[in-house]
Amino acid sequence: MSVLSSAEFWAFVGVMAGIYTLFTLGLQIQFGLAGLLNFGQVAFMAVGAYTMAILVVKQGWSMWLAAPLGIAAAALAGLLVGLPALRLRGDYFAIVTIAFSEIVRWVATNEDRLTGGSQGTINLRGEGVAAQYNGQWERFQGWLGEQLGIGSKDVVMLLLVWSVALLLLWVAGRLARTPWGRVLRAIREDEDAAASVGKPVFRYRLQALSLGAAAAGLAGLFYAWQFGFFSPDDFQPLITFFGWMILILGGVGRVWAVPVGAVVFGFLFAATRFFDFPPFSYLDSADRAYVRLLLIGLLIIALVLLRPQGILGRRQEMVLE
């Protein structure tokens, strides 16, 4: 139980909540604002992380150049997916995004020379050489820790992630209230009505998809920085589903519901780790992991049955009137 009170552990949970906030903010822009069903968001996260790692390791770029390019690559990937796929109706679009997400994961797994293959970024320089992309970032983290008088690496990361997340949440909130946001909301509700007053529906959707993808790319960067290493298995569809759960748990349509959902979800997820009292203590650790996820599944079902709009959401979003 000592871990329960460990600052390090909860800082880690907080960092993951922050990363998921960025990831889910992208979903909020795409779905909450624009009504797009993107079930492939994790692919954009992967594009961001891999672009940065490849540029640093293979091209010798500075992290501070590679990072913005990772975000740009994610945004570009959003464009590339949107150009053909946004012409399809909503549910078809959703399946295509899953397809895209699996294609990205498959390419990452099989194109060893480009991505290091299934062994992950450690393999980016090929056999025998352990590749690292995180040197610059860790030095920066250490320096910042010194400046702020904080010893713990995780706490520094926590501050960084949440500073960025809060800033972007503020920007997104402002964006939603602009005339641009108004057009998106109109398109979301009735695209024909929006088209009938002269709005180029396709262009707006593409922008929302791309912006949301960029947010996921940024989440990918922080993920990469936090762990110092990643592989294609880190970007499974389950991540996207967790994002959607956080989106709905917090509430669809409200930008500031996203961090609420992420923190609550992070807390619940972490808390299940500490079930070492009977009857859970009778299970071995592998089985306990399964029980954890099973309980989370039941929790999700309970959420949908009892409070479908989540914590801050509007009921009409989730219920047919």
Partner: protein, 294 residues
């Protein structure tokens, strides 16, 4: 080589097709994108495994038992989860989220009951049937035979029987069908039974053909099945059949050297998705779907 790949494609395609029919009818009828369906198929495979390896039943009987058990489970899930959600007039997002929750529950249940290690059915892996240059294992042959029979039976059921026609009508346009005084709840029940049977069968056959299977294979199977439903056109059960066969054939045939060297076998799943994307670009409403009306 080509004929071998064609045969393999028929095997894969027929498994996709069977699963796709269930998914398509459920989606058409309940507007439910059921992400738990993959794990339902996996559960079907494991229940057959229970009958086959644990109880020692012959494969055919075990498969039937697995199918029946899966159908029962599907009906239970409807009673416990989907019907209460329908009563609460849950919207699309709620249903989607609930299906993710259910998927987690089903998959973890399989892991708790059977553990993560791969399993295999108690069948002869060395028996091979040869037809010219084509070699098919016992599993593959059984799959083609059983799947073809099942597809034919389902197709006839949907086309000829009153219930089948009603199911198709409701999947295509529920509101309209409801107006003609059809007993909606009965149709829903029967649709779940059919979906459960097909999921159990598809899961068992897929596991049989794969040779060894683990609790996570359901989702991998689900994605091409969704692709098949979309490619065939949402709302069309026949479209789902066609889409499943098309994707299975495309996936296997893509590795043929005749197609400019052929695709790397490791990339086969990608082929299914590429075919889907390509198909939708050419015909956005799917093969048998209807174009959007303003």
């Amino acid at each position: 080589m080509f004929w071998q790949l064609l045969a393999n494609g028929l095997v894969t395609g027929s498994v996709y097709a069977i699963a796709a029919i269930g998914v398509s009818l459920l989606y058409g009828l309940l507007r439910l994108v059921n992400f738990a369906h993959g794990d339902l198929m996996a559960l079907g495979a494991f229940l057959s495994y229970l009958a086959n390896a644990a109880f020692g039943w012959p494969m055919a009987a075990a498969a039937l038992a697995g199918m029946a058990a899966t159908a029962a489970l599907a009906v239970v899930c409807d009673a416990l989860l989907w019907r209460p959600l329908r009563r609460r007039r849950a919207g699309f997002m709620s249903l989607f989220l609930a299906s993710i929750g259910l998927a987690l529950v089903l998959r973890q249940a399989i892991l708790l009951l059977w553990g993560p290690q791969p399993r295999s059915y108690d069948v002869d892996p060395f028996k091979v049937y040869a037809l010219g240059d084509v070699r098919l294992s016992l599993a593959q042959t059984a799959t083609i035979v059983v799947a073809s029979a099942a597809i034919a039976a389902i197709a006839v059921f949907l086309a000829r029987s009153a219930t089948g026609r009603v199911m198709r009508a409701m999947a295509d346009d529920r509101a309209l069908a409801q107006l003609s005084g059809i007993d909606v709840n009965r149709v829903i029940l029967l649709t779940w039974v059919l979906a459960g049977l097909t999921a159990g069968l598809a899961g068992t056959l897929a596991a049989l053909v794969q040779g060894s299977f683990d609790p996570n294979f359901g989702f991998q199977l689900l994605l091409p099945v969704f692709a098949a439903v979309v490619l065939g056109g949402i709302g069309s059960a026949y479209g789902a059949l066609a889409g499943g066969l098309a994707l299975g054939l495309a996936t296997e045939l893509s590795t043929w050297e005749g197609f400019a060297g052929g695709v790397e076998p490791a990339y086969k799943p990608v082929v299914a998705f590429t075919v889907l994307i390509g198909g939708l670009l050419l015909r956005p409403q799917g093969l048998f779907g209807r174009a959007r009306v303003v």
